[in-house]
């Protein structure tokens, strides 16, 4: 599955989730704490890993490790395997590794 977060995605996700940490909303603030600019919410990226599993209501569990910081306006590729492994990669940057999904029988 491929998904490109648009320029305003982090604002919509902040409103939807209630996570208004300025590292997701304010380029200047993000740079002041050593980030390249505003970054994606990890839980949004994890939601893409959940979406890639197909029927969300059949999901029994999902675990992920967050690694690289995702950024808006660059395509993310979610890769899944039949036995539930999942990864999210943006360019050379691995956002999620060692993801594991379990689906109800």
């Amino acid at each position: 599955m491929k998904v490109t977060p648009d320029r305003y995605l982090t604002y919509r996700y902040a409103g939807a989730s209630g996570d208004f940490n300025p590292i997701h909303l304010d380029d200047e603030f993000a740079r002041s704490v050593g980030l390249p600019g505003k970054i994606l919410h990890g839980l949004w990226t994890m939601a893409q890993c959940a979406r890639a599993q197909g029927d969300g209501l059949a999901l029994r569990s999902l675990s992920v490790q967050f690694r690289g910081m995702g950024v808006p306006e660059e395509e993310i590729t979610i890769t899944t395997t039949a036995d539930g492994n999942v990864e999210a990669v943006q360019g050379e940057n691995r956002l999620v590794r060692r993801g594991k999904a379990v689906v109800r029988e």
């Binding site: 996700y13 939807a16 209630g18 994890m46 969300g56 209501l57």
Partner: protein, 131 residues
Amino acid sequence: MSTATYAVGREKVREYAHAVGETDPRYLDPEAAREAGFADVVAPPMFAAVYAGPAVFPAIMESGLDFSRMVHGAQEFTWHEPVVAGDEITTQASLESQSERGGLEFYVFRSVSTNQRRELVSEGLWTNIVR
């Protein structure tokens, strides 16, 4: 230990579903949800992060970790009963473990969420790393 109750609203579920790109009509359309056997629109699985947040964030603050150097290291959810608009979800969150590895501090929080019928809806493990 921190406890919070979150009232699940139909428009909040729809707003969340749009923000994460979910298109399943059971998340968006009350009629489709009812036809599928639910009382109202169903929360997508990762909405667990939203209804558990109001209990988890205070637990993180109470733990005394250095918030300014914190990154979200790992996350796990296990889902049980479905959550639908109109539910009231109560979450208890607490610090499960604290450890140090390779100069990094690991704080693992556990959340347990139940609905108004005291049925388990989800459990979460939230790993925060302080650099």
